[in-house]
Symmetry: C2
Subunit: 349 residues, 2 copies
């Protein structure tokens, strides 16, 4: 298939990630002949900006995928579960940003800098990992290759945009209400997020970890393709609009000095080392917002064990954590000539 004839759909085009997907396709000059935005019936007919003009949002239906080569989904887990199989059945390759397919053995879970080769075996549905996982594995994979990571202890500082546009609006509204002596309304999160920290992202599971925390545990293993990497996570929402930060402690088999880690990460794809404490230079969400790179700083040897390192990892959760990673997967599919569903009956007979 010629790259110039690709038809690309964005499903969930009116959401925070969907809009960023459109911007990313445009900004990277993605080789699409046509880009078609889809959303639920409620949003169908509305306009979304694209290139010099606007696109009219179409209604997502089970039979809307005929003639579409790649569909970037960001419309929530239940929409993905319902519609992605119909897309694959129609020969359209789905790159799905929800958690619906991530741990499904039939679906590769891909971060292009880390495991692009997993795409070779795709069956029509490819999963985009969780935002917190993506930025962590981009930074950890090169260290794993150099020294084998045995254990990861991560605490996150996650922006409200990870929840979507309504959470961005909620933080904005609560702050305005408080600064106008009004009671802040709590709608999206279970508690106020303005000037607060919520150690609760996604639902709680039986083991008292949240689903977000266990995503970091399981997705890391699947992407790194190495069950010997043990991860434990505490995920926290903070009153930041864009950009997830992570305090990451790793234990490696081989010793890595902070200097070694800096040298390795300086060469790593998708990573930008930003680590000059003397100049007060370290990654921060306000700097990472709008950027493609995963920023790594505060690289320090952990003196409590033989082979330990502390890192501070920051990325734009909507870009590298979602839209950009999905578009990079699409680009990788094109480069590897994988924009086709070999067997259209894997998900729906």
């Amino acid at each position: 298939m010629s790259k110039e004839r690709l038809v690309v759909a964005v499903v969930g085009a009116t959401g925070a990630v969907g809009r960023e997907m459109l911007k990313t396709l445009e900004g990277r000059d993605f080789p699409a002949a046509e880009v078609i935005p889809f959303a639920s019936a409620r949003s169908a007919g509305s306009k979304v900006p694209f290139r010099d003009g606007e696109l009219t949002v179409r209604e997502l239906t089970e039979d809307c995928f005929t003639g579409i080569d790649i569909a970037l989904f960001s419309a929530g887990g239940s929409t993905s579960e319902k519609f992605a199989p119909h897309a694959a059945k129609a020969g359209c390759v789905v790159i799905d940003n929800s958690s619906a397919w991530r741990m499904d053995a039939r679906c590769p879970l891909v971060v292009p800098e880390v495991n692009p080769h997993h795409l070779e075996a795709h069956n029509g549905i490819i999963a985009n990992p969780n935002c917190s996982t993506i930025q962590m594995v981009v930074a950890l994979k090169p260290l794993h290759d150099a020294a084998r990571i045995k254990r990861v202890i991560v605490s996150t500082y996650q922006a409200v945009s990870g929840t979507g546009q309504k959470a961005i609006d909620e933080l904005d509204r609560q702050v305005r209400q408080m600064f106008n002596m009004m009671e802040p309304e709590v709608q999206v999160y279970p508690h106020r997020i303005a000037f607060n920290c919520l150690p609760h992202i996604d639902v709680f599971l039986d083991n008292d970890y949240t689903k977000e925390e266990m995503k970091m545990v399981h997705e890391t293993v699947k992407i790194m393709d190495d069950p010997s990497v043990k991860v434990t996570a505490t995920c926290v929402r903070v009153p930041v609009f864009y950009g997830h930060s992570e305090s990451v402690n790793i234990e490696t088999e081989k010793k890595l000095t902070a200097r070694d880690a800096r040298a390795i990460l300086s060469q790593a794809p998708g990573v930008q080392v930003y680590d000059n404490p003397g100049q007060k230079m370290y990654p921060m969400p306000i700097d990472a917002a709008g950027e493609d790179a995963t920023f790594v700083g505060r690289i320090r040897e952990d003196e409590t064990i033989e082979n330990g390192l502390n890192l501070w990892i920051v990325a734009d959760n909507i870009r590298k954590g979602a839209a950009l990673n999905a578009v990079q997967i699409a680009e990788e599919l094109i480069d590897r000539d994988l924009v086709a569903v070999r067997d259209t009956t894997v998900f729906l007979k």
Copy 2:
């Protein structure tokens, strides 16, 4: 000495912690015959509220301590370094909230729930630990007693009030400026704090850790009186006004289940277990603000090692992290009949 005849000074009475010290003395009905606020010449003559009236702030001088039994200092390290020895020389017991004396072998570093017996050997200057350390050791000591903690990995989420009133004002001002389409001014911190995370608290040291991070390492060992407890820390400022949060991972010698830890902490002095994920109950800075307790929740077994636990610890950094802890030390001195300086020449001949 009769409790009713105690004269208590608050040095730095116009600052965020100084004002909280006055409130705490009042709220706990501290047995002082007289409370005298001191500050620099600049603030001398101003009034601070106390009980039903006001107190006039006096100028801090080297010879102002005659007749004062206990001085609660919260006026910064250099003021403490200069004036605390004069207080001790005058027979006045100093409880100092700065970092000036914490690692001095002549000074006990005390959290009353953890090591009140260290007060017995005081020489006139007693150090109040760093806010982040206090709340951590209050929660960890009972677990250490039960199962011996070998290693602690902590990531903090620290409120701006830890920096003082001017940082509270800075977060407030930056948010207002941004919501009024103005460029936020950066004065107190090296970068904007509004809607941001700053992985930088206190100054950077030669090992690329911050002084705040190394305080948690060294103070924990001194308070717990056990050099076998290894701590590594990443300290982060978040846009929260009051209340420090900490994501703490511990490795113990003996196995503790989450249930064990919950049971132990439920009985621990100064600790309130707040851990019911099903009910969306977990500690948060907005709930901890204004409270005396150290709140512990999100108690989970860390499956990556044999004997590991994850905890989420939150406390009011101005109360338990500073003012309350200092007043509790004063109360402990009274109970133990230690309101006297045995040798007034230890710090100044």
